[in-house]
Symmetry: C2
Subunit: 276 residues, 2 copies
């Protein structure tokens, strides 16, 4: 299996000195770059089910989750490591389709699969680790939002995991926000919870005046759903936002983390694994 | 939970610009260093059971598995990310004990916990990602063994996961082998399988003349068990090995990957998740 996967890995990257096939991958950082790192689970029964998701969907989404975090930092994705546990009933065809889904997305964004771990389990378990690179000191962070900043999202909200099988991470938008956004994060646990987090670390509050709801979804889903894979960011109000940005409100002074909609506080009920 | 864990994290590292609390950790590499990366699952029902392992044991072993790979590269561990899924029946005490076990080992080797992912599942699932640093071009690799080299292991073999709950990764030995070993890897899937892998990528064969069996275990366990967490390496026969090294045989010319013991080929029956 390792040999089969290894043969399929494209693209290559000269900074990757050693990929699949050793105890560790070896990476030679370029001068003047900071590296950013994220890891994300995609678990059968939690983030997908195998009746609703094909093997390709699962491969795609495993990597997409990690790439969405890389986009939120304004970074260029470099390489990934995959921990994959296979269930007894998956066959070679399933495994090949899983890797096809993952490697197709990897290739689109120039990410090399550089290694990982293989195991077995009663359910399929995926954990992706992704490394991105950004010019020194230029990574976007959640902290940095200031009163007076406008708040934006990159698309209409309300998706749920049942229907959103192949999200496309907002990598190019992340680049465009570098040096322009005052704070940025990806929307993966729902607007109400994620904006609360951004405001908390920035020590500010938020006043929302519109919620762009995706057609066919409710405002509740747009506020508290957890599968948008859009970026949420703030920038000084005078600054021109990138194309496609939707302004949803302003950063204001107030109790850190408080989020108001049309003058009323909204509860933070996004997808939190420990509040369900 | 994230806040509680975050408060406990020691040590710090000036190269870690941003740790727990953002979409990604931010790392500023030091000039002249290569980075090495590994990821390892530790799964309930596969690598441990909760009746045999305490929460502390599980925390310790999660990180120890990753550190053992870092040791095999001759690298100094830097930081780790943890993906952790909690089962419904674990309580706050269990989680605290898990992190204590992990952070105590982290502190011993100067590893910073820089982030990760939290989720839930019907069983406890851990996936550790570890980054190590090594002077440019000096990482040990599996390939490089040459006919005439001696083969060594760092301790007696035969452990099984049921009893080996707190392995200590051979980090200092890895340093000592840098620039001296011709090839190196960690023994985590059994000597027969792991030596076969080392020989395959090096394009050589191995002739073993003794197997150092741990007291209370059988030679079968020493050959094919998979929980040693020792290093396996080769070096020119004339070179003095580090203290504690046990010579087990020589690299010879022959079909790549073939391993002989006292003139007879031994089967590669180590712990392979896809051959069971």
């Amino acid at each position: 299996l390792i040999r089969r996967v290894s043969a399929k890995v494209q693209p290559r990257n000269p900074k990757l000195i050693r990929g699949i096939g050793d105890d560790c991958a070896i990476w030679r950082p370029a001068p003047g770059e900071d590296l950013v790192f994220t890891t994300d689970f995609l678990l059968d029964g939690v983030h997908f089910t195998r009746d609703l998701y094909s093997a390709r969907d699962i491969g795609h989404k495993t990597l997409a989750r990690g790439l969405s975090d890389i986009a939120a930092m304004g970074a260029a994705p470099q390489f990934c490591l995959l921990s994959l546990a296979l269930a007894p009933d998956v066959d070679r065809r399933w495994v090949d389709a899983f890797y096809s889904g993952l490697l197709k997305l990897a290739s689109r964004f120039g990410v090399v699969l550089a290694g990982g771990d293989l195991s077995h389990s009663d359910r399929v378990l995926c954990d992706i680790f992704v490394c991105g690179a950004v010019p020194k000191g230029r990574a976007l962070q959640r902290r940095g939002a200031r009163p007076g900043d406008s708040i934006y999202v990159s698309g209409r909200l309300g998706r749920c995991w049942r229907e959103y099988r192949r999200p496309l991470p907002r990598i190019e938008l992340g680049f465009a926000l570098r040096g322009r956004a005052s704070a940025c994060m990806d929307l993966s646990d729902g607007l109400s919870l994620d904006l609360h987090r951004l405001c908390t670390v920035s020590g500010v509050a938020a006043a929302l005046d519109r919620i762009p709801v995706r057609r066919g979804f409710t405002i509740e889903q747009a506020l508290h759903g957890g599968e948008d894979y859009e970026l949420l960011w703030t920038m000084p109000a005078r600054r021109q936002p990138p194309r496609g940005a939707i302004r949803i409100g302003s950063i204001v002074e107030g109790p850190p983390g408080r989020v108001m909609l049309e003058g009323k506080p909204i509860p933070t009920r996004g997808y939190d694994h420990f509040r369900q």
